[in-house]
């Protein structure tokens, strides 16, 4: 238990929001109230003020209100502000809004409509964190209005294939809460059968949450959920037989998944033993394993280990008792409980007694329980002898383990009472035992126990005399328990005549004995005794004068208690005016009670659950639906087939490439042999090139002779580019040789060296990106036009961003990754002037063309753009996040790129910043 030290000094992490809290913590009550009222006034004025509060301040004040509420003060405002926080897209503001509502808004609030609206939005957001917050809120408030609004939506979320595990968990328990409050509003349907199969889910947390829901559903509709039995058994069997380390984080102090085990055992208690022999066999095996483990040496000395282990054991025993059909298991369970009864751990003794109590009502366990009845009674003897006062009482407390003192102790009495009745050889022994019980520890005998003893005495005339004698003797004790007075008064009033022959217990002696206790008793007991007295007048006419005297005394007839006064007055009148016959009729001996079940046993039976049948179905496994975040499934691109998947490239050449119709001439040297064009890039290519960063098709180059069109497509790290060379002249180009310069792994096919006038030739380039690059590959085109050699070098529009694979992700993932890429060199930022009109739609289109996904609802500022993607190269993948903040007023943009590779961040930032 010392693993946790709560005594450490206060940490420095005191929320700065709560400057308020510090002075409050230690001061006097008055100072606290004064301080709080001041703060409340301040917050109220902030909320009412003309100046609209920003989200942060709203959050701060709502949080303060919560704090004040938790200090025990009433809060009657701030609800509206909290509701406003719900629609914030800042997680922490939303979170505080939901917390306030969960703690402070009760179900009939008129705000519920607004709240429901916010919840609806969050449920639809597909952002798992927001969805969980909304589900937690529904589960926490659990009102009927919420059930009306969401009871049909949540099952859908629960069983949808693409729901995240954490959302499933919350949805299951949220639905459970709604089902408990408003079962009529939760529609049963197709989802219920799928819910059962959550028992097979790979995620232990999902199973843990789902079992609770399934158990509740099973209780209401056992027949509809029968299939869960076999699933639960196989799940349980897998857990029970797993090694203590198999389940990793679901192992608690060397005990594999104790919470899930207990929940599964509880689920099984909704049904009778499985009918299918195989399932039953497997279950019995599980239960035996649990019992066996109890005998193994502990794997840890920590109390957490033994508690978790025994928690499963007790639940297994409950199931064994519930089935009540496996004598072997019952006996083992009983022996185990017997061991616990003598355990030094107080909690275990308490629980063992409780279970023993349930076990006592089982049909098959008579013999086994009998062997332990001695243990139980011995335990009681040791603890119970002698008056329960002072030192001894304290000693007893220690041994009986205190815990049991208030409740467990009374429980022990009940155990004895039940055991006594069940195993009573003759009823005089029973009466003895119970009266002993009352004598020793009357305080802890429940009403049921003493009613039962009276019921039994009245119904069995063979013990009536004995009972009268016994209570009479018990009442001789100078201080006897009030419960004893009650039982005594009742029994003597009915059967006192049976012992009246003995002068030591003559009617008057009996009366005086009872009356000597009268003044020490409570009103209820005194009322009972007054009835005994009037019965005495009937049974023993010789006591009439004495008793009338008592009834007539001021302390009775003028008693401040109405009930006592009324009884005294009425009984006095009855005894004076009624004839003996009338009196005898009125005060006749009580008729036997109908022989019904002992109320104690009835109480016990209530503790056992209902039951129904089940059958076997094993080992159905749902495939783990989750792949990896939100990446788009990508088509296989290793062998691209040029015709099929390339957007119908061949269908028609772009209009711009349509060959112009001009008269056919011989090739004429237009530019002469000027070498200027040869080594350098063709003029204008850079601007043109930049236009292709965000698009794949268009005219790459054009002069008077030649037009080059391009169409391309990229998938992962592969690309295919079609170049269309159009001869704008009517003269043939000769020796036409486009050659790419070696950079990327580009395969080209040779092109026909002759291009007829007005004709177009096409060249296909297959591209593979091996690693990240910054320089675009070049292509050199030489041809003879007329007698002149033309030499054009162009940048091919292949930039790194072409290998961008867009990645959709939720806001939380985005920020998680953003955080992971926080090294200075991973970020590249540029602030630049807008070169084009700042149209958000155009910007969006450009960003999409750039290749990144556009993420909605990530940036708190809706004007900003956020994108994400992965650069795919053969040797590595580079995750990229980008954020673009337009500033319309300044006509500026700020662009931030974060990637795992410095060069990539820089290059992409440069490429993209030229686009706006």
């Amino acid at each position: 238990t010392q693993a946790i030290s709560l005594q450490a000094p206060p940490t420095q992490r005191l929320a700065s929001t709560f400057v308020l809290a510090a002075p409050i913590a230690g001061k006097s009550k008055e100072a606290e109230i004064k301080r709080i009222n001041k703060e409340l006034a301040n917050i109220r004025s902030k909320f009412k003020g003309d100046k609209a509060l920003d989200g942060y301040s709203k959050k701060k004040y709502v949080c303060k209100l919560l704090f004040i509420f938790l200090l025990g003060h009433d809060i009657d405002f701030g609800h509206m502000e909290a509701v406003n926080l719900l629609s914030s897209n800042k997680y922490t503001e939303k979170q505080i809004g939901y917390l306030f509502i969960s703690v402070l808004v009760n179900s009939n609030s008129e705000l519920i409509r607004l709240i429901n609206n916010a919840i609806k939005n969050d449920l639809a957001s597909r952002n798992p964190t927001f969805m969980c917050l909304a589900l937690h809120c529904i589960a926490n408030v659990g009102s009927r209005e919420m059930a009306e609004a969401f009871a049909s939506e949540i099952p859908r979320i629960l069983v949808a294939g693409d729901t995240m595990d954490s959302v499933k968990q919350s949805a299951a328990l949220c639905l459970l809460r709604l089902y408990k409050t408003s079962p009529d509003l939760v529609p049963m349907g197709e989802w219920t059968s799928r819910v059962v199969h959550l028992l097979n889910d790979q995620h232990m947390g999902v199973v843990t949450a789902a079992v609770s829901l399934i158990t509740c559903l099973c209780k209401k509709n056992p027949d509809d959920f029968k299939t869960c039995v076999s699933l639960a058994v196989s799940r349980l069997s897998r857990i029970v037989s797993s090694a203590s380390t198999d389940l990793q984080d679901y192992t608690y102090y060397f005990v594999p998944a104790p919470w899930l085990s207990v929940k599964l055992l509880r689920l099984l208690q909704c049904y009778p033993p499985p009918e299918d022999a195989a399932v039953k066999g497997r279950l019995v095996e599980c239960l035996e394993t649990v019992l066996n483990k109890a005998q193994e040496p502990p794997k840890s000395k920590k109390v957490q280990h033994s508690n978790a282990k025994n928690a499963i054991l007790f639940e297994a025993i409950s199931l064994i008792i519930h089935y009540d059909s496996e004598p072997n298991l019952l006996v083992r369970a009983c022996n185990q409980l017997g061991q616990f009864l003598q355990h030094r751990e107080t909690n275990l003794r308490y629980l063992a007694l409780e279970s023993m109590c349930t076990l006592a009502s089982s049909e098959f366990s008579h013999e086994a329980v009998k062997t332990h009845i001695e243990t139980v009674i011995n335990a009681l003897k040791v603890r119970g002898v002698g008056p329960l006062r002072g030192q001894e009482r304290k000693g007893l407390d220690v041994r009986a383990g205190g815990g049991a003192w208030m409740s467990g102790y009374s429980l022990e009495r009940e155990v004895v009472a039940i055991l006594a009745e069940k195993y009573a050889v003759d009823y005089s022994w029973y009466v003895d035992t119970i009266l002993n019980l009352i004598r020793i520890a009357g305080d802890y005998v429940s009403e049921e126990v003493w009613y039962r003893v009276i019921q039994i005495v009245i119904n069995r005339d063979d013990v009536q005399g004995y009972a009268a004698k016994t209570v009479f003797e018990a009442l001789q004790a100078p201080a006897c328990h009030e419960n004893m007075v009650k039982v005594g008064g009742y029994i003597l009033g009915e059967f006192g005549n049976l012992i009246a022959g003995d002068p030591r217990s003559s009617p008057l002696v009996q009366f005086n004995l009872l009356h000597s206790k009268f003044h020490l008793c409570s009103v209820a007991t005194r009322a009972l005794l007054l009835s005994t007295y009037i019965k005495f007048i009937n049974l023993f006419p010789e006591t009439k004068a004495t008793i009338q005297e008592v009834l007539r005394s001021d302390s009775q007839i003028r008693n401040a208690d109405v009930e006592l006064q009324q009884r005294a007055v009425e009984y006095l009148k009855l005894s004076s005016i009624a004839s003996t016959d009338v009196l005898a009729t009125v005060l006749e001996e009580m008729p036997p009670f109908p022989e019904r079940e002992s109320s104690i046993l009835a109480k016990l039976k209530k503790k056992k659950g209902p039951g129904a049948g089940s059958e076997l179905d094993d080992g159905k496994k749902e495939p783990g639906a989750e792949i990896n975040g939100g990446m788009e499934p990508s088509a296989s691109t290793s062998t691209p087939s040029p015709s099929a998947d390339l957007l119908g490239l061949r269908a028609a050449p772009p209009a711009s490439l349509a060959a112009p119709t001009s008269a056919g001439n011989l090739l004429v040297d237009v530019f002469s042999d000027s070498p200027a064009a040869a080594p350098g890039l063709a003029p204008g290519t850079d601007e043109n090139f930049l236009r292709f960063v965000c698009k794949n098709n268009g005219v790459l180059f054009e002069n008077q002779l030649l037009q080059i069109g391009v169409k391309s497509e990229f998938r992962q790290n592969l690309g295919r580019m079609y170049l269309f060379y159009g001869n704008k002249t009517s003269v043939q180009f000769q020796s036409f040789t486009p050659t790419r310069l070696p950079q990327l792994n580009i395969q080209t096919k040779a092109v026909d060296p002759l291009v007829e006038g007005g004709a177009q030739v096409q060249q296909v380039l297959n591209i593979e990106c091996l690693s990240d690059f910054t320089l675009a590959p070049l292509i050199n085109i030489k041809f003879r036009y007329g007698g002149t050699l033309q030499n054009i070098t162009l940048k091919l529009p292949i930039t790194l961003n072409k290998f961008f694979q867009a990645t959709e992700m939720q806001s939380q993932d985005f920020f998680q990754r953003w955080k992971q890429l926080s090294l200075p060199q991973q970020e590249s930022q540029k602030i630049f002037k807008a070169n084009h009109p700042m149209d958000p739609e155009v910007t969006k289109a450009k960003l999409l063309g750039f290749g990144s996904a556009l993420l909605d609802k990530v940036d708190p500022n809706p004007d900003n753009f956020v994108g994400a993607g992965i650069i795919q190269t053969k040797s590595l993948q580079v995750g990229c996040l980008l954020r673009l903040e337009p500033n319309a007023q300044a006509q500026m943009y700020r662009l931030t790129l974060r990637t795992s590779k410095e060069a990539v961040s820089r290059h992409l930032c440069e490429l993209l910043s030229e686009q706006f």
Binding site: I4, S5, L6, Q7, T11, R13, L14, A15, A25, C63, G72, D74, Y91, T92, Q95, I96, L99, V103, N106, T129, H136, A139, G142, S166, Q169, L173, L176, R177, M204, G205, T208, A209, D249, Y250, Y252, W259, V262, N307, A308, A311, F314, T346, D397, G401, G402, G403, A404, S407, G408, K607, S811, Q812, F815, Q816, W818, K819, S822, N887, A890, M892
Partner: protein, 148 residues
Amino acid sequence: MNCRQGKLRLQKWYTTLPDKEKKKIIREIVQIILARNQKMSSFVDWKDLKLVYKRYASLYFCCAIEDRDNELLALEVVHRYVELLDRYFGNVCELDIIFNFEKAYFILDEFILGGEIQETSKKSAVKAIEDSDMLQETMEEYMNKPAF
């Protein structure tokens, strides 16, 4: 959760009750728990429920469970919650809980929902909270770039 002086530090209800009733119940339970000595067992019958409690330093953690619920496991629920707090706060103390009560609530919601155990894995439950903290920090950093 209440301290030795009987001041309530954290309360969470899984049934809907009027405020007055809640206050009455809290008073009653705090009295019962504070009156018990260390040698007594951790379970007390209370109305038709059972109180399961455990003391950690100056704080008592107490939950009321139904008659048929598993008491030992309830005790470990309390312990696991304390472990979660400890893992999150690092050597948690009463003041952590007083001043960061909202975190204590968030952690509780990850662990228990609607009165049922949702996630027993320490990693998952605390991770959810740490993630949201991270989110908050990142968002602050993200938003706090100087204007341009």
